[in-house]
């Protein structure tokens, strides 16, 4: 009886490990989707509301949830308190903070940083073009991430469970 319980624990443990590795893929696709959403809201704020950048960023940070909040909130905070930083630098700090919490690929990071360099330094139409460009690039990245997720998430989940089963079999 005790052995059965131990076996279930091992399988469950390895299964959880596998599932969490699979989660990473799901989270990446979701994060990219939310980033696009955030950029949409930023565009709306800039084109219809003409809100100043720090306020727009803070608003987007409030509306968008979860981990995507991080770059917007950090950039908004840095712009509000430290007047010496340009928008690009503040945004880059935000991106770095996001990178610390959820590792971005080099491609995603470069898309975001390039977007940041166009922030706040040109007219409204230019800003909107910048946002649209970044959104398109993020959409491509999201499609790639979805594809990777379809391939890998299932694989890691099954592998986790099977490794647990293999260990149990070896110890029987």
């Amino acid at each position: 009886m005790l052995r059965l319980l131990g076996a279930c624990c091992i399988i469950a443990g390895c299964g959880i490990l596998g599932f969490s590795k699979g989660e990473q893929f799901r989270q990446r696709a979701e994060m990219l989707r939310c980033l696009q959403n955030g950029l949409n809201m930023l565009e709306a704020d800039i084109s219809y509301g003409s809100t100043p950048l720090p306020l727009a960023l803070a608003r987007v940070a409030e509306k968008v949830g979860g981990i995507t909040q991080v770059p917007f909130a950090q950039a908004a905070r840095l712009l509000k308190e430290n007047n010496g930083l340009t928008a690009a630098e503040a945004w880059e700090e935000g991106v770095n903070k996001l990178d610390a919490e959820f590792t971005l690929t080099t491609e995603e990071k470069s898309i975001l940083i390039l977007f940041g360099q166009g922030l706040g330094c040109s007219a409204r139409e230019e800003q909107i073009k910048n946002i649209t460009l970044a959104r398109e690039q993020l959409r491509m990245a999201e499609l790639a991430a979805e594809e990777a997720r379809n391939k890998n998430q299932r694989m890691w989940q099954v592998m986790g469970l099977c490794t647990g089963g293999a260990i149990v079999l070896m110890l029987i």
């Binding site: 391939k151 299932r154 694989m155 099954v158 293999a166 079999l169 070896m170 029987i172």
Partner: protein, 65 residues
Amino acid sequence: MNIELIFQIAGIGIITSIFHTVLKQAGKEEYSVIATLAGVSLALIVVIRLIAELLTSVKDVFFLH
């Protein structure tokens, strides 16, 4: 000498085939070959132990040297 060995080997076989299929579907064919090889060698260890016991028993019972 117990019956669980049969289930152990069958379990290794099923899990190896699952690994093989899953890894092939995810596109990592090289890893699937390695996984299959590992599974086969694991089962081989168990089976060789069984066969050694068989041969010793036969030698004892039938007076073969």
